[in-house]
């Protein structure tokens, strides 16, 4: 019975988690890739589709009931660098309004930045530069920071919590709120679990008492100097409070530390770098004073959390030139442009976050010369308003109503467009990954089912022993006229009871485990130090699960069936006993 219980429990939990994982993964994939993508089948040119507005109309006309939005893209591989080693990326020219309708990139924008190319920090983008939105994984992946949040006074805890939500959970951080007699008042972070517990902890600190700056800070510094903040990575100190003393007061507090402590914890204000004599390895800390409130988060993000926003990157690429326009053989020309980073997105899919750089479509068309070009100067020909002419794209992305029917809709669009277009659906783009997840789920289900089969064998063993033990009683019943089916029914119902009770317990505990999946994972972490669901591997913050009715019914009915099957043989053996043989031996 316990075997059946655990069999059903593991089977249900595992299939539900796998199902939830597959569902979330599909949602993520859908979120970033379009449901259907139209490309040109002519690969001789980079921008192979001209006049995309016309094409978009034809797409819409091909399936008017299904197509919700259409977004043009010009996508091209680039090298991106910020004064250091370049790294490969993909430059994607988009029209933000349209792209936001088709893919989920607007929802994935970091730090509340609007999904367009305006620079919220108000900086002017220099002439000839283009704005861009970068995947959070480009250039910044290895830039984990240590952040010290210090807050005191009413309302500050909420601000810290707000800011914390902008912090990459991989960043190491220390939160200090209110009165501290010991390090027990410090919440620290460095992984998902600590990150979450810090947020919980902050909720309980809403009414933390006010202390006197900057003595408080000095005390914290002293504590931290021996604590875990940073080792070689830059340290950021974020101070929250109303009517804060000037920054110099904080620097003084820092200066009062012992040289050893200072070497460990260096403080500087933006724009100023303090150097510790003789301390090559001394770390520099950034120092940020914030008023609690809604602005705090934005400010933190723009100045601390994402120090690349507002800075420039250089992109370099090679463009195959159009033979037709030049009248000569296609050649390859290196091109380079400057981009100012205005925002970043984090889709949770590493493949996109470490790869995609969004820029305005027209800028990309101009940079890659995917428009009407002066044959002699190779410069784009601009019209009277300074716009390029006959811009080309290489991808038209489509959002549809019924994304699970993307294949059928793609076929309709293909017919409607005619000609030489290639159509891909979101499933076909990620077919291997989706198939792998589906196969994994099925395989795990099959493997887990063997637990149930093992349990069934124990039922078989138990019932066989019971039959042997009860041989005489079976004989007595048979002598009194019990029929073969009657005897079988007794032992079958024994198997059925084991199966039903086992399934019931399994169902109940599975429901409980699934409802408390993440607390249980945290508990395992707290007891063993092993986190069962590392976020960085699985791309998802929480362990997902999906209670799939038909699969649960399948599991339960299959288990009951196997239990009955296992009970069948001993029952049959019992019923076939010759009554007199059963009675003969005392």
């Amino acid at each position: 019975m316990i075997g059946v219980w655990f069999g059903v429990l593991t089977l249900l939990v595992v299939t539900s988690v796998m199902g939830g994982f597959a569902r979330d993964l599909r949602a993520r994939i859908r979120g970033m890739s379009a449901h259907i993508t139209v490309t040109s089948s002519q690969f001789s040119r980079l921008g192979s589709m001209e006049n995309w507005e016309e094409l978009a109309k034809r797409v819409k006309a091909a399936a008017p009931d299904e197509v919700i939005a259409v977004s043009p893209q010009l996508e091209w591989p680039i090298m991106i660098s910020k004064g250091q080693t370049p790294q490969p990326a993909t430059l994607v020219g988009i029209i933000p309004d349209r792209e936001a309708q088709v893919s989920g990139f607007a929802e994935h924008m970091l730090d509340g930045h609007p999904p367009d190319f305006t620079d919220f920090s108000g900086r002017k983008i220099p002439e000839g530069w283009g704005p861009c939105i970068m995947g959070s994984g480009i250039l910044t992946t290895h830039r984990n920071k240590d952040i010290l949040f210090v807050a005191d006074g009413p309302g500050t805890a909420a601000s810290v919590a707000d800011c914390l939500s902008a912090v990459n959970p991989k960043d190491k951080f220390v939160v200090y709120v209110g009165d501290a007699q010991s390090t027990g008042d410090l919440a620290t972070g460095g992984d998902e679990r600590e990150y979450r517990s810090a947020q919980e902890w902050l909720k309980g600190r809403a009414d933390a008492p006010v202390r006197k700056w900057p003595d408080l800070l000095e005390r914290i510094f002293r504590t931290l100097a021996y604590d875990t903040v940073g080792e070689t990575r830059p340290c950021v100190v974020v101070v929250f409070g109303k009517d804060l003393p000037p920054e110099s007061a904080f620097r003084d507090a820092w200066h009062r530390l012992s040289p050893e402590s200072r070497r460990l914890l260096r403080v500087f204000t933006p724009g100023e770098t303090l150097t510790e004599p003789g301390g090559e390895k001394a770390r520099a800390a950034q120092f940020l004073l914030l008023e609690p409130g809604p602005q705090a988060r934005l400010e933190l993000v723009s100045r601390v959390q994402d120090p690349y926003i507002g800075t420039a990157v250089t992109i370099t690429t090679i463009t195959p030139e159009d033979a037709r326009d030049r009248g000569v053989d296609p050649r390859i020309t290196p091109t380079s442009s400057k981009l100012a980073i205005v925002g970043a997105f984090n889709s949770g899919m590493n493949e996109y976050d470490s790869q995609i750089v969004y820029a305005p479509l027209e800028f990309v068309q101009k940079a890659l010369r995917e428009c009407r070009v002066d044959p002699n100067t190779k410069e784009p020909i601009l019209d009277a308003t300074g716009r390029i002419q006959a811009g080309r794209i290489n991808k038209l992305r489509i959002k549809v109503v019924h994304y699970d029917d993307a294949d059928k809709i793609a076929e309709r669009i293909r017919k409607g467009l005619g000609g030489s277009y290639g159509l891909f659906t979101w499933q076909s783009e990620k077919a291997i990954l989706l198939q792998a997840v589906a196969v994994e789920r099925t395989l795990t289900g099959v493997i887990m089912f063997f637990i149930v089969v093992m349990a069934a064998f124990s039922i078989l063993a138990i019932l066989s022993m019971l039959v042997t033990e009860k041989t005489r009683d079976i004989g007595i019943l048979r002598a009194q006229g019990a029929t073969v089916p009657g005897i079988m029914a007794i032992f079958l119902s024994e198997g059925a009871v084991i199966g039903i009770v086992g399934c019931g317990l399994g169902l109940g505990t599975a429901k409980y485990v699934l409802d408390n999946l993440n607390p249980l994972a945290d508990w395992i972490y707290s007891k063993t130090g092993w986190y069962p669901f590392p976020k960085n591997i699985y791309l998802l913050d929480r362990i997902p699960h999906q209670v799939d009715g038909p699969i649960w019914i399948l599991v339960v009915s299959a288990t009951l069936f196997v239990c009955l099957l296992a009970a069948l043989w001993p029952s049959w053996k019992a019923a076939r006993l010759n009554p007199i043989d059963a009675l003969r031996y005392e």
């Binding site: 009683d473 007595i476 019943l477 009194q480 073969v484 007199i580």
Partner: protein
């Protein structure tokens, strides 16, 4: 041939290893309704085996048994089970009560087996009343709710007899019903069986070593080495049937 219970040329071989051991070597017997037949003979003569074959607990290797003109071998398993339940019943030397059940529940067992799950709640009251009556009749009124482990041998046999009579069978087979009891208790059980046989006019076929029991039978049949060697026509029944005469090989063969 009486047409009530007839055994014809019953043979039964037991396989021991690759050897075939004949236990019954062609037994014929006719029993009239209301007969009380005692089968006597030395141990190993095949008395119990014969009784089991008559009572549908075992099948003969060859030969046939007829009950009211119907051959057992024509019956399906379900029909045999039904007959074991309602038409025949058994009283064993070792009582064969279910150890987990009380005297009353043991006595109820045949009726429970007989009825379907759905019908049981309806029949239950009546069956309990009858079982209680039978047990009280046998002087077990005080011990209805004792499990067999807390009953003496005689009391257990009384419960077994009550169980045998619950379905008002036409034939009761007793396999050494007093074989395991002391003389006094044995006498009480014998008296009980006798009064029941007379009162209900039930046919009894019993295997016994007890001379006192055999003496009271209408008819005594002697078996030696798997054959009936001596059949005695009971004087009380007017059946014009000669005693089952066996081809008589030497009894000591």
């Amino acid at each position: 041939m009486s047409g009530f219970l007839d055994a014809r040329d019953i043979r039964r071989d037991f396989q021991i290893g690759d050897r075939s051991l004949p236990v019954l070597r062609g037994v014929d017997l006719s029993v009239e309704p209301g007969d009380v037949v005692a089968i006597v003979g030395p141990s190993g003569a095949g008395k119990s085996t014969f009784l089991h074959i008559l009572g549908l607990l075992d099948r003969p290797t060859s030969g046939s048994v007829m009950f009211k003109g119907q051959a057992y071998s024509d019956l399906g398993d379900r029909e045999r089970a039904r007959m074991r339940n309602s038409t025949f019943s058994f009283v064993f030397q070792f009582y064969h009560l279910l150890p987990e059940l009380t005297a009353l529940e043991n006595a109820l067992m045949p009726v429970m087996i007989q009825s379907s799950i759905l019908a049981w709640p309806v029949l239950r009251g009546e069956a309990r009343r009858k079982a209680r009556e039978l047990l009280e009749r046998m002087g077990m009124g005080e011990r209805l709710h004792h499990v067999p482990g807390r009953l003496s041998g005689g009391e257990r046999q009384r419960v077994a007899i009550a169980r045998a009579l619950m379905t008002s069978p036409e034939v009761v087979f007793c396999d050494e019903p007093t074989g395991n009891l002391d003389t006094v208790t044995s006498q009480e059980i014998q008296d009980l069986l006798w009064s029941l046989a007379e009162e209900k006019c039930t046919t009894f076929v019993m295997v016994t070593h007890e001379p006192s029991l055999a003496r009271r039978a209408h008819r005594v049949v002697r078996m030696v080495d798997g054959l009936i060697v001596d059949g005695e026509v009971p004087p009380t029944t007017g059946a014009a049937v000669p005693p089952a005469s066996a081809p008589s090989p030497s009894p000591n063969a």
